[in-house]
Amino acid sequence: MNGPTPVHLLTGFLGSGKTTLLRRMLADPAMAGAAVLVNEFGEIGLDHELLDRIDETVVLLKSGCLCCTVRGELADALLALHSRRARGEVPFFDRVAVETTGMADPYPALSTIRSHPVLRNHYRTVGVVTTVDAVNAPGLLDTRLEALRQIGAADLLALTKTDLAPPARVSDLIARLASVNPSARVMTASEVGAMDFLTEAGSLPPPPESARLNHHAGTFRADTPVTSFALEIEQPIDWTGFGLWLTMLLDRHGENVFRVKGILNLMGEDRPVAVHGVQRLVHSPVHLERWPDERRTTRIVFIVHGLDHALIEASFRAFDAMARRIAARGVSA
């Protein structure tokens, strides 16, 4: 096949319905060509037995949790699948779905695929789907940072067990999820189809309504809330200054930047550029074909843990203005 194989990450807290969703997705013809890696934390892995598909493209990563102990195992499994596909030893697969453990922070898995010197040439992560349990999530959002990281990293939030929770509680949860991660789509799991699951994150601009400011999104550790906010800049921005600014921000504060997602109105470019990242990982920027609406502005959504929104905006503007001053006077490194 041409180009790197897309990898879809499925995450969600313990018991939130990841395997149920994956099982339904795998039954769809659109997913017929998917290899599956299941990471389970425990002595005996069971989840992969529940997938109704036993062949060599279903691999269980069982040595521990993906985000700490089995990163090497993830890399080895992906490399082995690639080699065996090339030799015709496993059924051909055109994409990979990775189901993480319920406790996993998705960032290390994304980072492993993005930065491994061999993997990065053969695979590319294209989206994160997070299952959210409508019964237990409200409590988890207050107490478990892992749950917030999973929600913050998501491109699609799939609400599960909505039939077991009162409608008012579900609508409160949807509002809260929209404030934790305004850049993600929220759907009930039963509505999620294979094409929703497979949609590439970079192909979607942030939703227009995401330009809301200063949401208080969670109450995790009352002194350091997780919050989301959006920057909107009318003037075209400088690509070089933006790159150095975001690199410095993530170098210093990456563990507290759960998500960055935006479209950029760049100097000298007619079409917008989409950028998205999770903690210290930033995906390759995507040159979009057209603007999502009539506003030709830079819009960036941040989900941050205990960082000052006003300082982020002031810093962004200072870097951009400085880079534009240097561009105006001509380059002399």
């Binding site: 180009g3 930065s115 990065r120 970079g202 400088d238 690509w239 070089t240 200054g241 790159g243 150095l244 600014w245 690199t247 410095m248 921000l249 170098d251 210093r252 504060h253 550029v273 950028v275 990242g277 930033v282 995906h283 390759s284 920027p285 995507v286 040159h287 960082l307 000052d308 300082l311 982020i312 002031a314 810093s315 200072a318 870097f319 203005a321 400085m322 880079a323 001053r325 240097i326 561009a327 380059v331 002399s332 490194a333």
Partner: protein
């Protein structure tokens, strides 16, 4: 190995992504790549000058960061720049530090 220049080691930072359909990059041709590299050095050096550091490229495949006392750090990827610069300067570069923001606003 870098698919563009054919040398071992390469900056795979997201701002200089390998040119593929749909990806925004200045890596699509040699002139655009060199122009962007020069711009990046100019802007980075303006920031680094606030701590008297200076960045240069070595044969287009590594970065060399130097302090006024002659200490140097060599690294391949732009993703290492700010951690290396913080280590060389003796304190981290924090874009959310109000005094650092003020010093950036003063750069002319």
């Amino acid at each position: 190995m870098c698919s563009l220049c054919g040398v071992l080691g390469c900056d795979d930072h997201w701002t200089s992504a390998v040119a593929r359909p749909g990806v925004y990059t200045h890596n699509s041709d040699r002139i655009a790549r060199r122009r962007e590299a020069a711009r990046r050095l100019a802007v980075a050096n303006a920031l680094l000058a606030t701590r008297r550091l200076r960045l240069s490229e070595w044969q287009g495949r590594s970065y060399v960061l130097a302090s006024p006392t002659g200490s140097t750090r060599i690294f391949e990827a732009l993703s290492h720049l700010w951690s290396e610069a913080g280590a060389l300067a003796g304190r981290p570069f924090d874009p959310l530090d109000p005094s650092f923001i003020a010093s950036i606003e003063a750069i002319r």
